[in-house]
């Protein structure tokens, strides 16, 4: 067993990921099968495509998947899919309108999950700017949407954003 106080970096030589019959992501590492594993981005904003924490159903860390380079085709595909399934935060593709009514900010958005309407009581608690260019919106219900890079949005969306940024 590894030292519990050391990070266990997963080795592409002895580890692989695949999908179980039940549709869960599974991992076999050094001959041990983990039938249900979850992936967590450790640096979702700073390094979204690296350093994934792989955990079992109990939430215990099995290891760190440092990068996808050097892994077999199937592992890469399934890890990619799992990331997509584990990070369901809709991404904004277009801002239709940002409107302020008394006591409420309403965002009308087009996202990767369809059109949405977010209502927030204020901006200073519901709008975060974790890294330059990226915006994280949280509505009253706790639903989150992301703007990956507001500089890459279309002109209309940027104009809407300029009203508040």
């Amino acid at each position: 067993m590894n030292d519990p106080f050391q990070l266990n970096i997963l080795d592409p030589g002895s580890t692989r990921f695949f999908r179980s019959n039940g549709g869960m992501l599974a991992m076999s590492a050094g001959g041990i099968l983990h039938p249900e594993v979850t992936l967590h981005r450790t640096f979702p904003f700073a390094h979204p495509d690296r350093y994934f924490s792989v955990r079992n159903a109990k939430g215990e860390e099995l290891g760190i998947l440092e990068t996808l380079d050097g892994w077999d085709e199937e592992s890469r595909r399934e890890v990619g899919l799992e990331l997509k399934l584990s990070y369901l935060t809709p991404q904004v593709t277009r801002i239709m309108k940002i409107r302020q009514t008394p006591g409420m900010w309403i965002w009308e958005l087009e996202t990767t999950m369809g059109s949405m309407r977010l209502a927030m009581r204020n901006l200073h608690e519901h709008l975060q700017n974790p890294v330059p260019g990226r915006l994280l919106l949280t509505d009253l219900e706790g639903n989150r949407v992301e703007i990956i890079n507001f500089r890459e949005l279309d002109a209309h969306s940027r104009k809407q954003l300029r009203k508040i940024l």
Binding site: N21, G22, G23, M24, T101, P102, A119, G142
Partner: protein, 734 residues
């Protein structure tokens, strides 16, 4: 036959045909496909099977109910999935985004009840996100008033409501204002008379002197009235501001702990003041000035029209431009103010943070980094200020330009008229003076824009605090309770700080009056949460807690807190004397009572040894006490409070062994006859507990006395072993 209260969302016909009429017991829609793309799927549960269909009615998954052992939710970021643990492994049922959280949570609960053969849960309003029926905006918790649909003018009318108690003063101020306004119109008219009737005919004499005296008298009256009105304005403004501040603070005090958990609290220190100041400025300067200036505008225009209507119209030609410009910049100004406020708020939060953590900053030598962080935020405030004030630097001159262009027209055409003798020189001069006065109100107009916007955005924030419903509201039928026995019963309590992420799961525990319960478990096991639930800082998501058979939610909170005393790890002493701190919950305690409490708490001796005794100032600016001393004062505070239910949260964690012994002694006297819940890191300190409750990952793992649990060799045994190991190592090192 549909089961009553179950969740049945309409599914496409194709799905309905696949399943068969009337066989659907539960139907829930979701929005994520197996490939992570947006696809609609339906989870349909019948008596035999749980199936997932796509929109075309194709079955994606199908599981027999008798194969399923448990259905659970696996959380992801922004959504999650329902999975079924079956005899041959775990299977994904359906994936969803967070909008479906509540319904999926219900579906899981419902399916588990079906599988276990338990009573089926009934869909309640708590399981569904609530939205305004008119506009679909989610409703804030605890209210049925949709903030979007409410009246647009609400903020202003609500603001003005604060002025209502001061109607008399406001009316007086307004009357003075009207009088002053009318009087301001007199001097130019006097000038006209002096020019036309005295200077031009060159008939000097007594009349000139009288006219000048008259002019002086009006000026004097004007000054007196302005002073008076100004004074009333200041007086009423301060009162108003005090009212707003008080209400905001009261609203803050009313909010539940969870509101503060989620926020950096030092920001409120500045917010209460600056926001109420902005609101005050609008109400006193704003409202009175605006009314005054509008009045002025009307009277000047009327006088000008009566002097010469053609010239008056010429003078007014450019003014509509100004109104148009104002309407155009209005939305900008409000946003600019909010942006400005946000940058100031950020800097306040930063300063609050750094100063609270100044020890850490110094210890790690990070002063430079903090200076840089501040410099960044400071630069941002500067940029926003430049934008904000810069806008006005552009707007003011523009407005003056517009208004002075009217004056040019008057000079030119009026001048011609004088030369042609169509009007007198005096009229032209009076006209020019009036025109000069007219520009005043028009420029004030832009200032009014500024004030109004600033006040509105401040009011928005203040009203937000006032409108936030506490998460643990006093129920309308809350009962007063007399002194309780102290029987505490937890019945299947579940709670999570983030909904759907339970920290406590299905906790049931009955505690007899006077019993001492030791709560044991790893950090994060839910010990402190359990205690917070008993204090009713939070309400359970599921299940109930009762004291003497009455549900906590039905007890008047003030009454409840009277029965509960707490001694926490981090003792907080307020700015004041030791005596005041001990008598915090009982300000009328006599000196003898205070000393008695301190004596029981093992605090009396060290307090008396201090030069200022019980009058020693502690807290922010006061005497520095050691951790153990503070702790014993806190125990004395709990003793004088004389609660029936006592909560000790790591009361001896941060002190040395000798002090711990003294505190232990004090505590053992304190717990006598009271229902006590104690959390202690050092398990040895819980030896006196009647029963130990071992929590593991939010569930009760074991209950029993110290000896029983040691014999059982379970979780507790391991914890004790681990601690012995640790103290053995320490012993060697020491």
């Amino acid at each position: 036959m549909p089961v009553m209260g179950a969740l049945q969302e309409e599914c496409p016909e194709a799905v309905g045909q696949q399943v068969g009429d009337g066989r659907v017991l539960l139907s829930v829609k979701s929005d994520v496909g197996e490939d992570g793309e947006r696809r609609e799927h339906w989870l349909i549960v019948t008596r035999e099977k749980a199936e997932v269909f796509d929109a075309d009615g194709h079955a994606v998954r199908s599981l027999k109910l008798d194969e399923i052992r448990e259905v659970r939710m696996v959380l992801a970021v922004g959504g999650g999935m329902l999975v079924a643990d079956t005899v041959d492994g775990t299977r994904v049922l359906i994936r969803y985004t967070s909008v479906h959280h509540k319904r999926m949570g219900f579906a899981a609960k419902w399916m588990n009840a079906v599988i276990q053969g338990e009573d089926l849960p009934v869909m309640s309003s708590k399981d569904l996100p609530r939205a305004c029926p008119k506009c679909d905006t989610p409703l804030p918790d605890g209210t049925n008033v949709c903030p979007v649909c409410t009246d647009k003018g609400r903020v202003i009318s609500r603001l003005l409501r604060y002025a209502r108690p001061y109607r008399r003063q406001m009316i007086t101020a307004a009357l003075l204002l009207i009088a002053a306004t009318l009087m301001e119109l007199v001097p130019p008219f006097m000038t006209k008379i002096i020019v036309d009737d005295v200077l031009q005919p060159k008939t000097a004499g007594a009349i000139l002197l009288w006219l000048v005296i008259g002019l002086g008298a009006t000026r004097l009256m004007l000054s007196i009235m302005q002073t008076l009105r100004g004074y009333i304005g200041v007086w009423f403004g301060s009162k108003l501001m005090a009212d707003i501040r008080r209400e905001t603070y009261e609203a803050l005090m009313k909010l539940s702990l969870s509101f503060f958990d989620r926020r950096q609290t030092s920001q409120f220190i500045g917010r209460i003041n600056s926001d109420s100041e902005a609101m005050r400025q609008f109400m006193t300067d704003g409202v009175i000035w605006i009314t005054g200036e509008v009045l002025m505008l009307v009277s000047i225009v009327a006088t000008m029209l009566s002097l010469d209507w053609r010239l008056a119209l010429l003078a007014l030609i450019p003014t509509p431009l100004m109104f148009a410009a104002s309407v155009l910049i209005w939305p900008f100004v409000r946003n600019l103010w909010y942006r400005h406020w946000r940058s100031v708020n950020r800097i306040n939060v930063l300063v609050g943070d750094t100063l609270q953590g100044i020890r850490v900053v110094k210890a790690f030598g990070q002063e430079q980094a903090e200076r840089n962080r501040y410099a960044d935020a400071n630069r941002d405030v500067m940029t926003q200020t430049v934008r904000m004030d810069g806008l006005w630097q552009g707007v003011f001159p523009f407005f003056s330009l517009i208004t002075t262009s009217g004056a040019l027209l008057v000079w030119y055409f009026g001048g011609w008229n004088v030369i042609r003798d169509e009007i007198s020189l005096g009229t032209l001069m009076a006209f020019i003076s009036y025109l000069g006065m007219l520009f005043g109100p028009l420029q004030w107009f832009s200032q009014a824009l500024n004030w109004t916007n600033r006040a509105l955005s401040a009011a928005d924030r203040v009203f937000e605090i006032m409108d936030t419903q506490p998460d643990v509201p006093d129920s309308p039928d809350a009962v007063k309770i007399p002194r309780v026995e102290g029987r505490v019963v937890l019945d299947r309590v579940s709670y999570g700080y983030e909904k759907h992420y339970p920290v406590l799961k299905n906790i049931s525990l009955a505690v007899e009056p006077g019993e001492m319960i030791g709560l044991v478990g790893h950090s994060g096991a839910g010990k402190s949460t359990l205690i917070n639930m008993i204090c009713r800082f939070y309400d359970p998501d599921d299940g109930s807690i009762s004291v003497d058979g009455i549900d906590l939610r039905r007890i008047d909170q003030e009454d409840l807190r009277k029965q509960i005393g707490v001694v926490l790890q981090e003792t907080f002493l307020f700015d004041g004397t030791i005596a005041e701190n001990i008598a915090y919950s009982k300000p009328d305690a006599t000196p003898l009572e205070i000393m008695r409490a301190a004596k029981i708490a093992n605090a009396h001796d060290f307090i008396v040894r201090m030069p200022d005794g019980y009058d020693t100032r502690v807290g922010e600016r006061g005497h520095r006490l050691s951790g153990g001393e503070k702790q014993r004062i806190a125990i004395a505070r709990a003793i004088i409070h004389d609660p029936r239910i006592l909560i000790l949260d790591e009361a001896t964690a941060s002190v040395d062994t000798e002090t711990e012994r003294q505190i232990q002694e004090a505590i053992s006297r304190l717990v006598k006859g009271r229902t006590t819940f104690a959390i202690a890191h050092r398990l040895s300190t819980l030896r006196n507990a009647d029963r130990l409750v071992v929590l593991d990952k939010g569930k009760i793992a074991e209950i029993g006395t110290h000896e029983e649990l040691l014999r059982a060799k379970g979780v507790y045994y391991k914890l004790v072993q681990a601690q012995r190991e640790m103290s053995r190592i320490r012993g060697v090192e020491g």
